[in-house]
Amino acid sequence: MQNRFGLKDFILLFVMILTLASIWMAMAQDDRRWKQNSEILSKLASLEQQGARLDQQLRAGVELSPKSIDKLSSSISNAIGNTLSETIAKAGPIVVTQNDNDQGSKNTSEHTGANDTNTTSDSHDTSWARPGVPIEWQPKYTFATDPRNEPDFAYGGELTEAYNAQPSKLMPVLGEDVYSTRIVDQVCETLGDYDPKTLKMRGLLAQAWQYDPNGMWLRVKIRDEARFSDGQPVTAEDVKWTLDEYINNPEMETEALRSLLTQIKDAQVISDKVIEFHFTEPGAYNLRNALGIYALPKHFYSKFTTTELNKATGLVMGSGPFKLKSLDPDHQWTPGEDAVLVRNELYWGDRSPLASLRYRTITSDQARLVAYENKEVDMIGPTSPQFIEVPKRYKEQGKDIHDTTYTLKWVNMKSGYSFIGWQCGKRNGKYTPFHDKRVRQAMTYLLDRQRMIDDIWGGIGEVAVGPNNPPKPTADPTIKPYPYDLAKAKKLLAEAGWIDRDGDGILENEEGDEFEFEFTRSSGSQISERIGKFVVDSCAKAGIRCIQRPVDWSIYDQILKGRDFDALIMGWSPGSPESDPTQIWSTKSIQNQGNNFIQWDAGQDAIIDKIVVELDEAKRMELFHQFARLIHEEQPYTFIRVSPWLRYISKDFKNVHPYPKSLEQREFYMPAQ
């Protein structure tokens, strides 16, 4: 008989597999130890490097801030008398410079803008500057709210943030999604950034700049102390390399940013720390665009080919307060893992209190909330229903959510708005009813937007007044949203010729055509479904027949480009306090399938063309307000809601402030136990 596979064979096989498995396990264990060892060794190496640098610096002489030199000299003078201390202060290895470091600690909150330092600017070295053009000295970019004087302040701790979607890659510029950008922004720094409180552009890596009064060039002085996380100084060459070889290199997949920077003609290295940008034509946004360029370390990135950079997922290095734990090109971070940033101990500015930031992706809304309540993560963005329901549930259980959680709800510069866009031009060769301004105003009057927000979004959000809403400086604070007023809407419609002529409850115009329009909305979302129903009901009250047209997101773009709609719901979200109005509003964007898809043309170009070349900020804001009033009068969109940011952040952390810019994780701290 054939020898069959019996119990003994089975046991033998099992034991064999077990042995092999345990050998493999032991090898894996050893591998891991090896990896940890090498990690420790590399950390040690960087510490040694740091030690050597400190040593070198000590030998070369140390800059002391005036405050500490005061202390030093007073203590010395107490001991040995005035005359000697003066000589000490001026001679020897101790070099005294008027350093703007000193304003870091206490009085930051009083320093708000660039103008504060003008008083001290005399003492700055100005040899780098072009003569005759005023220099804008920048105060050191530091914590918006300094935590270091709090009694329980401590360094250390980790903040875990849960993201709704996977960051695509941790690469500057190449990782285009919002999550990648947020992480990269902690690591890479730009020449200038917006002040978290005032939203004014101020120097980050830039110590000062000179901007041509005619707007054709910008000369930037980079801070002497600025350095990358490996200790190498940030130089003008790095900035130039970033622009020429990283962003403007056609072999790099950076075209999204590249096509926004077309007005920067070139960058010229003046000296080690001074760079000058030249523009093709003067423009209001040239300053912002030039200062918004990352300074990437040339010595690090030029080691790689463009192909390697394009497909890299975790090669982000910069001069920011945090850095990636490991920059080994063979073991990069990949989407799916937690992204972990550790404090950059060599940071040139004020060290961040937190030792590390961790980003975890949790795609399910419910899982995100549970993970937060389990303390697996410290910060989430709850959905609007969660934001309303969770505090109620806590109350039912006799607890207060505010004991453990910062429940933040605020509008900041990145808050978007949703709107209904009315087709002001022709659709398929024929004007829609919304061609008439009075009809558009009537539509706004008959939509009770506060009720929409209450019913659809649970009361979270504010009625939007225009493309720019407070706290943005571009919003005109005097404008109030249209109230809900059905009678007024009907009156306006009647003025425009829409009257119920045959008594069937539907309005007709003089030709007897009924007022009927198509409302395009995205399918598959509950919110858009409810908006659709609300609009249909509201229109019915005024005698307008509205037909819903739910379409998939993927063909929205075609509809927009073909201008093939009567009305549609959409949203815009800005990335900065001031968005260039040309793209969405200018009549130039009607042509060639641009973003003025509602084909609105009411003489707005006169204002927009002035805005984009006005270099003076105050005057530009005045123009923006004028533009806001025009939009308010014309109602090309019915602005529905400004969507605030919602955050739950654990009270294990302190110094958590919602700023008009966004959140500043770099200044959070975990109190000492």
Binding site: T307, D338, D557
Partner: protein
């Protein structure tokens, strides 16, 4: 087998190409943000050029086929020392209506044949190649920019010239509409701008053709070793298939699959043995004790589990088993603990003598809930199959003979009946096997597991050509392999089956 695979991929590809938006819809969507029309057009031009999105879908499919085919025709690719595969540059596509502004398309001029000096080192060659490549990239991108501006000018002209629907739904200029109206009228106010844009475009085109010819010369001088093995020198060669780069994630498809596959495999390799170890013994027992309360209770429980929707189960599992408000036994998200990086591989005691779970146990603990959701629905089918197959055999003649011979009951069940009931189980295994690799979209999204299901759905939502085709090819191939495996296993399990 090969024709089937090609058929599957072709069908899937064409379906996606014909869906609203078409291939690369997501690229256009993200390109539509707050950009001026010209900038958006330039960006789109770059993207389409890089990924060949402006070609007809069938052509895109065949180009993909050419890349994944191990048999290569024509000039062989070369491999750089950094292991990057480089090939001849693609043609420069002629812009629409170029014949309105010039008589013949530009051809490369003054290109002298190029060869490396005999004493050129590898670095020298690489440097010359890099220079030629850079020059070509710059010239080509300058041409693309000029072309985008030219097309915008055409669009502006068309709107004023009253051309009916100058653009199609994807924003492309419709050549026919223009031809219907005829050559532009020089007296039109837009003509000057159009003419200038066309001239700039033609100049850039000429430069790009020159740079391309130069680049081809350098490429033909072979700065790097060639890829693959020649079969007919200069014409046919064998080389590794190239699955290309996903254009929504701009990473090589192979790498994306390499990241996602282990995750899915880990889940399924834990889940499948659990299903088998529970449902087969239960199926056997219920066959042996047919009609007993065990039989009916296990049947009811398994069917109930089978009919319970996974979405709800996942949500309940997170809400009750993972939430600290209730049981809080399991973690909610991720595959590893925050401290996983510093954990040892195996369980150990730390310096204070506390027990540490180690990396392996930590991972197993984290995958408990997803595995639970994968597993619970699988019991019913397998146990019922086992039960039915066993019952069939219980009534067979040889069982009665064995009983009559006095073979112990246990031996009858394990040695005779169970072995003969294996055939249907093999069939079951084959249908389950491909699921092992394709992953479960629902479970992966509830538990934030970055596996294959996620990847495939993302690819389809974004109309990501390379990723869709690669995952389809992979899952198709695995399915076919599983069928083949089943046939082989049949022959092994049942001596009566032979494949002559």
């Amino acid at each position: 087998m090969l024709p089937t695979l090609l058929g599957i991929t072709f069908l899937v590809f064409m379906l996606i190409a014909m869906s609203p938006g078409g291939i690369g819809a997501s690229l256009r969507r993200s390109g539509g943000g707050q950009m001026s029309a010209t900038n958006a057009a330039i960006r789109q031009m770059y993207l389409e050029d890089r990924y060949g999105l402006d070609d007809p879908p069938v052509m895109q499919y065949f180009r993909w086929l050419g890349r994944i085919s191990p048999l290569k025709f024509g000039q062989r690719d070369q491999i750089t020392p950094k292991n990057e595969r480089i090939s001849l540059p693609r043609h420069i596509k002629a812009p629409v209506l170029w014949d309105w502004f010039t008589d013949s398309p530009p051809v490369a001029q003054d290109i002298e044949p190029f060869s490396f000096k005999p004493d050129a080192t590898a670095e020298d060659k690489a440097a010359i190649y890099r220079k030629a490549k850079e020059d070509y990239a710059k010239a080509r991108s300058a041409f693309l920019t000029a072309r985008a501006i030219y097309e915008q000018a055409l669009g502006t002209y068309a709107e004023h010239a009253g051309i009916n629907k100058p653009r199609n739904g994807k924003g492309k200029l419709r050549e026919k509409a223009f031809r219907a109206v005829g050559k532009p009228d020089p007296s039109s106010p837009d003509y000057a701008a159009l003419h200038d844009a066309a001239q700039a475009m033609l100049d850039a085109w000429q430069h790009a053709e020159n740079a391309r010819a130069r680049f081809i010369e350098v490429f033909k001088a072979k700065p790097f070793p060639e890829a693959g093995i020649p079969i007919v020198p200069g014409m046919i060669s064998l080389a590794m298939p190239d699955f290309g780069v996903s254009f929504t994630k701009s990473r090589p498809v192979v790498e994306l699959i390499k990241d996602a596959l282990p995750v899915t495999l880990l889940l399924n390799l834990v889940a499948f043995p659990v299903i088998y170890f529970i449902s087969i013994p239960v199926g056997m027992l219920s066959a042996v004790k047919r009609g007993s309360s065990f039989d009916s209770i296990s049947g009811v429980v398994f069917i109930a589990l089978w009919s319970f929707p996974t979405v709800l189960a996942g949500v309940l599992a997170i809400g009750f088993l993972a939430s600290n408000q209730y049981l809080g036994w399991f973690p909610v998200s991720g595959l590893h603990d925050k401290l996983a990086d510093t954990m040892t591989w195996l369980p150990t005691h730390d310096a204070q003598g506390h027990w540490q779970p180690g990396y392996v146990l930590d991972t197993l603990w984290h995958i408990c809930l997803p595995v639970l959701c994968l597993v619970y629905g699988g019991f019913a089918v397998l146990s019922k199959q086992t039960r039915a197959a066993m019952l069939d055999n219980f009534n067979a003649d040889y069982v009665r003979t064995a009983k009559a011979k006095g073979v112990p009951e246990k031996d009858i069940i394990l040695r005779h009946v169970f072995r003969n009931s294996l055939l249907p189980l093999i069939t079951m295994f084959v249908t389950l096997f491909p699921a092992l690799l394709s992953g479960s979209v629902i479970i992966e999204s509830i538990f934030s597991v970055p596996g294959m299901g996620h990847l495939a759905i993302d690819a389809i939502n974004n109309r990501d050509r390379e990723l869709v085709l690669a995952t389809t090819l992979m899952i198709g191939a695995v399915n076919l392999l599983a069928l083949l495996l089943a046939d082989i296993l049949y022959a092994m399990a049942d001596p009566r089956i032979t494949y002559e």
